[in-house]
Subunit: 339 residues, 2 copies
């Protein structure tokens, strides 16, 4: 069993912990957190050994009556792999600690690409993470773009990708985020960072991305244009994408018109936390004309990277090949809606 | 003086009335409204003769103590041109009335293109409206796209336009509109109607448009990609667009990051109702690379078609050529920010 430590137990960390526990070949050694709050209490309730991420704050846990299993260094030492799910920039600060204990570490998309040996998307470049010490699981948007591009690149070749990302103003729990009643070019310059980030997965890809922020919290929504190298028609591309386990082509009959109904559908389907691990592609929008593909997809920012983190654990430990890992992850989590 | 009647006195009609009154060569004969509300009372306060648009509702005006100048047929008969600013679909119902009195009529973008002799955008096809009986001033989004395409087509040629339109959920006063906290592909199919609508102005243009609705009310926001036929660089295109009176390239120094600050700027500038008659193009976003232009622009849905309605009046009455009309309209309204 691969012993996995999780440093950070917020939006991503708590999901990674549940996903790792669900795998047949992994165990959660423990999770680390900086301060006690409702998530810390739930970690204890779920019997995840809880470690203090910052020594100076140990007494806060004592005051809150939360028992600690130890300090984060002990967690790192006891782990075969650490998944760092701390806020952007903190992962970079933690790097020397992981090196000290010689524990391979996975970072999240908010860290710089040059912090790590390899940026990772399971479908696109699983093999490159073999035996790496520092791996970055790319961000939710880059994951969503990479998953879509990979089968198109394999099957038809991609001349150019142009994507407009309508970004949620914040996660549902980020109550202080904006904008309110506004649409902000964000960033206001072109391209946004997402295109170059996709190039960490597909170095030679011609891709331009533009970002805007809007007053919505449920998902990001992408407006995608892909110029294909070889001819294709709409139905061929639909069938190709439907074969990918982490692409969910929403059937028209479900009448899911936006992020709200998509999330409601995920909750009704019994998904933990209402998570949508797949890219959710609106079937009606999927259109190919003159070798140009257009579609809309929703990206659930809190959860689409979770299966990727699980696969990255197997990739760095070389404990399974891509196909085997993705199938195991998907089976254990329940990726793919039962339609 | 051209005698102008305005049928409908809502979001567009009240702005057209003010804009026509501001012109040196036009007079407002009167405005017609279906029922009494705050806008009807303001029309009377502004000394616009008020006509009942529907005979059966005359008593509602009597009850509200609002004096009427007559019924809409009298207004149509007394007018050289009627501007129909009624809700989508009502203009089509009114067509026979305008024909009965042999009064040329201008309709708004919500009517079907095949209702009219010509769809109109001043910069792009002013001359085609000469002596027409039925002219449609295209919608706010189509106006915004046409104004941008016209100079690019003239100067560089356009191979293809790809635009994602992030649409406001409703006008500020449409308090019952949604979505709330959601991003809706709208329409969910590709292309949206905007591309074909631009083809009523540029019949041979290759254009694909995608639409989404978000919980914001202040403006539409367009993410634009234009493949140019002939080479250009960013600064050349910026200078070209800055020369167009109805394109406002927002200077970086103003630090206008979204629709909210744009509207605040318009209000601070003393614009009536805070209107932004121009396409507002974010200067920082304007980027040309490999002959592809990208930019973001805000389209103020309540007001960008107002100068176009005024020009359409001169176009159908053949009382001025394009250049003269646009200059007169812009001067009388105050189009162009004093920076």
């Amino acid at each position: 069993m691969i012993q996995v430590g999780i440093n950070g137990y917020g939006t991503i960390g708590k999901r990674v912990a549940d996903a790792v526990r669900a795998q047949p070949d992994m165990e959660v050694v423990g999770v680390a957190k900086t301060s006690p709050n409702f998530e810390a209490e739930q970690a204890v309730k779920k019997d995840f050994p809880l470690y203090a991420a910052v020594e100076e704050r140990i007494e806060l846990f004592d005051e809150a009556g939360i028992d600690l299993a130890g300090e984060v260094e002990e967690l790192v030492e006891a782990s075969d792999v650490v998944v760092d799910t701390t806020p952007s920039g903190i992962g970079a600060q933690n790097k020397s600690m992981y090196e000290e204990y010689d524990t391979p570490a996975l970072y999240q998309g908010g860290e710089d690409a040059d912090l790590v040996d390899v940026s990772f998307n399971a479908r696109s470049n699983y093999e490159e993470a073999a035996d790496a010490d520092h791996v970055r699981v790319v961000s939710c948007n880059t994951t969503g773009l990479s998953r879509l591009i990979a089968p198109l690149e394999d099957e038809y070749g991609v001349e150019k990708v142009r994507a407009t990302l309508v970004r949620r103003g914040g996660d549902p729990a980020q109550s202080g985020r904006g904008p309110i009643n506004d649409t902000l070019p964000d960033p206001i310059t072109v391209p946004s960072h997402h295109g170059p980030d996709v190039n960490t997965i597909f170095p030679d890809l011609d891709i331009d991305t533009l970002g805007m922020k809007v007053p919505a919290t449920l998902t990001h929504t992408h407006s995608i244009n892909v110029e294909l190298t070889y001819g294709a028609d709409t139905e061929e591309v639909r069938e190709l994408l439907k074969k990918e386990s982490r692409l969910f082509v929403i059937p028209e009959r479900l009448a899911i018109d936006g992020s709200g109904k998509l999330k409601e559908f995920a909750l009704d389907s019994g998904r933990p936390r209402g998570d949508v691990w797949e890219n959710a592609i609106w079937g009606e929008s999927l259109t190919v004309e003159d070798d140009e593909l257009y579609l809309f997809q929703a990206i659930h920012q809190e959860s689409d990277v979770i299966p990727e983190n699980v696969d990255a654990i197997r990739a760095v430990t070389e404990s399974a090949d891509r196909k085997e890992s993705m199938e195991t992850t998907d089976e254990a989590l329940g990726v793919g809606f039962d339609l």
